[in-house]
Amino acid sequence: MLAYVIQRVAQSALVLLVVGLVAFSMFRFVGDPIDNMLGQERTQADIDRLRVVLGLDQPFVVQYYKFLESAVQGNFGVSYRQGRPVSEILMERAPATLELAAVSGFLAISLGIALGVFTAIRRNGFAANAIMSVSLIGVSLPTFLIGILLIYLFSVELGWLPSFGRGETVKIGGWSTGFLTESGLKALILPSITLGLYQMTLIMRLVRSEMLEVLRQDYIRFARARGLKERAVNFHHALKNTLVPVITVTGLQLGSIIAFAIITETVFQWPGVGLLFINAIQFVDIPVMAAYLMLISVMFVGINLIVDLLYFAIDPRLRADRTGGH
């Protein structure tokens, strides 16, 4: 198992290096950093001085190394647009996105698994068929339309919930949370449904098809033949086996929640890192784009790693392989 973990960690590090290279290349080659930092009135002496300060006169590899070095320390330079350190802006924005992602991730996983199991067990029932049909529409419905639809219904027509922003937040240390105020919680409802719905649909459809596959297996028939209660067969025997493949996809889904947050945050003007990223693209604010890319890569790679390790917790066959079995 240790060898496996080391291999996976090495792979993750390699991915991060590649992503870092992309981010660095953006810095270095997309637009001229000197152009971006110096105004119209500049002298050749200014340019040369800045080249040395930024290290642009050094070889590519040295520059890349320095970029990585400062990136690891959380230093991504200064935003072209806001003129403040990128890390500072990111820290300010991160809580909003993380809280949103956590709530929608929870919604997507819990409802997705529950509905998936339900539709698999009641395969031919009316409710299950209805849920499946609706979910097909859900897959075709772009996230931003779901958001607009919810805003129209609950903000414009009914006026129950706010259509934008986080509501009031409370600062705890460096973390501003919306969980502790009524308006903060209310503001969370629509965005988290918007963000979680698509992922929920995917998880539900996956759980259903895996569960149906498992229910056809011999060991399920054998469990039935031993007279176990239907509940034990479905939830103890079948669900556990279903979860093994579901975990991978769900892990990846959690990653894409962070990415899809960009869309939701734009629809709801949610002040998170996604909205920051979109604005950075619009204004070609390269340092912010590069930092966001690095940040999200670390998250994705981390989630993938955790998913791989989770396998060991669930599937004893893998645990056995580490010691070669006995």
């Binding site: 060991y219 039935r224 033949a225 031993r226 086996n241 004893p316």
Partner: protein, 326 residues
């Protein structure tokens, strides 16, 4: 005569399809008494497994029992639904499936699978169940049972797994065991051990056994009586010695002729021409008539009478006489 544990009368299973109704089991009747092993033989598709599934109430829809009765321990069970049928499975009827590699849930320890089955049927404490689980594994000949209860299925070899499956089928002390091709998926060297084990356990406990197989060697080794099935119908039923050495039905004769048996000496093996008809293309009259060496015009119109000869019976107009075969 003792009262039979299992009594099947005129059992008919139907599967409605687009091309009409198929009858994989058609008017089959037989009994099994306590401690007796009834071998059910036939080619694949002859309906032997389907009959076993009908008894334990595990026919997969749309297959269903359309006619006839099944009695277990004197109680009619073919009309039991839901929980009533579930309580019967494992408790009164145990089942052993063909493939031990797929019959056990890979994610659950075998000890847990045993105790779970016992707790579902027997009024015993958790601790008592744990104790009995070890005893059950010892009984089926698993070395180091006390340690192995905590093992997962993949940590056992195929033969050992089939022992575990047998322990599972017997752990709630059923009076009838349906063993569906219990040795087919095993190495030849292990087959005899498993058959001997099954035989010993059932003799000791007085369990009735329905041993479904296509392997004449297994029948000769283990069965007290044999039921020969052909295209859903019972072709012949009788004591194992009679059926093997002096069959009544021409099909049984052909089946024996194509099986190498030590008792038959060096006689040449011969084969039955043609193949068993598909269930959707059964000939009128006797289903074996197109392949039968003794076929007459009447066989092609009428399925044939049930003739009795001593302890055996067969469905044929022109049974082989005992003398003719011997």
């Amino acid at each position: 005569m003792t009262k039979p544990i299992l009594s099947i009368r005129d059992l008919t299973v139907e599967i409605p399809t687009r091309h009409g109704i198929l009858r994989p089991v058609d008017g089959v009747s037989y009994d099994i008494t306590a401690g007796e092993i009834l071998g059910v033989v036939g080619e694949s598709g002859a309906g032997k497994s389907m009959a076993g599934n009908a008894v334990i109430g595990l026919l997969s829809p749309p297959a269903h029992i359309s006619k006839g009765e099944i009695h277990v321990n004197g109680r009619r069970v073919d009309q039991l639904q839901g929980d009533a049928m579930r309580k019967l499975r494992g408790k009164e009827i145990g089942m052993v499936f063909q493939d031990p590699l797929t019959s056990l849930n890979p994610l659950l320890r075998i000890g847990d699978q045993l105790t779970e089955t016992m707790l579902a049927h027997l009024d015993i404490s958790r601790a008592e169940a744990d104790k009995r689980a070890v005893a059950a594994l010892e009984e089926v000949g698993i070395p180091g049972a006390a340690e192995r209860v905590g093992s997962y299925p993949h940590e056992f070899s195929g033969g050992m797994r089939q022992r575990v499956v047998i322990a599972l089928a017997l752990c709630a002390e059923p009076s009838l065991i349906i063993a569906d091709e219990p040795t087919t998926a095993l190495d030849v060297s292990v087959q005899a051990q498993i058959i001997a084990l099954l035989k010993r356990l059932c003799r000791d406990r007085g369990t009735a056994v329905m041993l479904i197989t296509h392997d004449m060697g297994v029948i000769a080794e283990a069965a007290d009586r044999v039921a020969v099935m052909y295209a859903g119908k019972l072709a012949e039923l009788g004591p194992v010695r009679d059926v093997l050495t002096a069959p009544l039905h021409p099909y049984t004769d052909g089946l024996m002729g194509s099986t190498p048996l030590a008792s038959r000496g060096k006689a040449r093996l011969h084969q039955i021409p043609g193949a068993m008809p598909r269930l959707d293309a059964l000939p009128p009259g006797c289903a074996f008539s197109p392949r039968c060496p003794k076929v007459q015009a009447v066989c092609r119109q009428d399925p044939g009478p049930h003739i009795e000869d001593g302890a055996g019976r067969a469905a044929c107009f022109f049974p082989l006489s005992r003398e003719e075969v011997a």
